[in-house]
């Protein structure tokens, strides 16, 4: 953060710190460091994967995922389970991100929005599926650290019929 002590109020992330955050987040997912990944979310953070092109309403329009930290934690805990049959064997993922773009920054409101085009591959057994998507990260600084208030993943084919999507994009 620019003002050296990150614990001080009003700490402001540089563009590079915002970009690094997005890159690091994807890397954590691909390395299956899901517990660490969860800590990137603010307590009131959400992960949203719309079902509809250009969707604006997460509640009265269905989504593929619209999950708070509790539901995300259930997913992460489940991935570790002995009786998680759809993860025997486990899935793996691979992200290729285009350079994340600082969409907007509002220091006074402590709100930073990142926009990232990406290809995401999920694989299990002999199957490998490619997805193309845009990730939008709404970030804020909490206790001196960047946190995800909302991660939105818009699939280019959000309304297609999918097989299992088991990990996080």
């Amino acid at each position: 953060m620019k003002r050296n002590d990150p614990r001080i109020e009003g700490a402001v992330p540089s563009d590079k710190e915002l970009v690094d955050f997005v890159l690091r987040e994807a890397r954590m997912l691909d390395q299956q460091r899901f517990e660490d990944w969860l800590t990137l979310f603010a307590d009131d953070g959400y992960y949203w994967m719309p079902l509809e092109w250009g969707q604006t309403d997460p509640k009265l329009v269905c989504s593929l995922m619209y999950e708070d930290k509790l539901l995300l934690s259930v997913r992460v805990e489940r991935l570790k389970g002995e009786r998680t049959f759809s993860q025997k064997p486990k899935s793996r993922s691979h992200h290729v991100l285009q350079m994340p773009h600082v969409e907007s920054r509002d220091e006074a409101a402590n709100s930073y929005v990142m926009w990232t085009s990406m290809h995401y591959v999920e694989t299990r057994n002999d199957e490998q599926t490619l997805y193309a998507a845009w990730a939008t990260h709404h970030l804020a600084v909490e206790d001196g650290k960047l946190r995800i208030k909302l991660k939105r993943v818009d699939l280019v084919n959000c309304d297609a019929a999918f097989g299992n999507i088991q990990l996080f994009m």
């Binding site: 079902l51 509790l70 539901l71 259930v74 049959f85 759809s86 019929a161 299992n164 999507i165």
Partner: protein, 437 residues
Amino acid sequence: MSRYAGDAEAIRKLVREAEVHRDVFVDEELFQLEMEHLFANTWVYVGHDSQVANEGDFYTTTIGSQPVVMVRHTDGEVKVLLNRCPHKGVKIAGETCGNTGKVFRCPYHAWRFRTDGSLLSLPWTQGYDDTGFKDSPAAKGMTRVKNVHNYRGFVFARLNDEGPGFEEFFGDSLSSFDNMVDRSPAGKLQVAGGVLRYMHNCNWKMLVDNQTDTCHPMVAHESSAGTAKAMWQKAPEGTPKPMAVEIFVPFMSPYEDFDKMGIRVWENGHGHTGVHHSIHSDYSAIPGYFDQMTAAYGEERAKAILSEARHNTVYFPNIMIKGPIQLLRLFKPISANRTLVESWTFRLVDAPDLLLERTLMYNRLINAPTSVVGHDDLEMYERAQEGLHANGNEWVNMHRLFDPAELTQKNVITVGTNEWVMRNTYRAWAHYMTLDM
């Protein structure tokens, strides 16, 4: 090599009293025969009339393997047409939904049809005189499915001209549709929220079977519902119970509870779980809803409607509905080992938005391609689709609580872990496969 075509006896032999031959799930020839016979002899769900609210509104879908378009005709009725131009076979309606006005126009050669399918005009008529065209099937226009029934908004079609009547086919089972519709203070549903489309590499009947399978949730869904339950138990006392926890936790009910919930068995493969109680019984009340229901129906009737907690009602051949959460799942057959599952949701007209919000949460937590519950179900179906190829035992077992007396019984309430509805599914399967052979 044809093993089953035209051989009704061979097909009937695939269904024993409490066992079903694996070919019913894995054999491509039987799948083609299902498309030709089963899906033509039965009343198959097409769509909901709120999807075609206005004249000229259309919606394209399939009945078995048949491309169809459901359209609101100029007389206000919902028609179902085979979606092909009688000229060269081009699908006339190309989009999933839209409004075509008073006519369909083929985008290839501009043949035009009224919304009941009849041919309205060709663009350059000279050239057809004395060719025999007027006696050809093409001159009749788009083929209209004659047997269409709109039951309180739910549109069904029977492709074959001959076959069981609508009431005869569904009988008392329509009470589950009644209950879902009656839950709206206005007595009306609207398709809302979008449709989840989930591709399954398995036979469509594995999904049908699963709808009244009450011995799998606590096993297959331990990883999802069990984890949610365990995490919730660790929450500090007094934490308000989130809607998602209310939805997940009942999946972990023990066998005894599912036994007590009961199953109602109707004829023709229809039936429902959750007669006395169900996994949907203990959801929190939605503020204001009961008052709206009381105002609409009176207190006694409102209570009667809302006390029905029917879990899954399965309608043969290929849908399931959940009245208490206004959800319909359609199992669209693609091939013997491929099924598209569509999960549709409904708004209760004049009821609070929070009901739709809960319905949509249920749908994405349980029925989405991203659902941790769906993942484990699909894993089971796909393993079965592969495992069934193992030789040595060619039969799928459904003996749980079988009693030969059931063969002559109709409209029965039984123990909630009975596999009776599944057995009836395959009895109905054998009947409607061979009805017109």
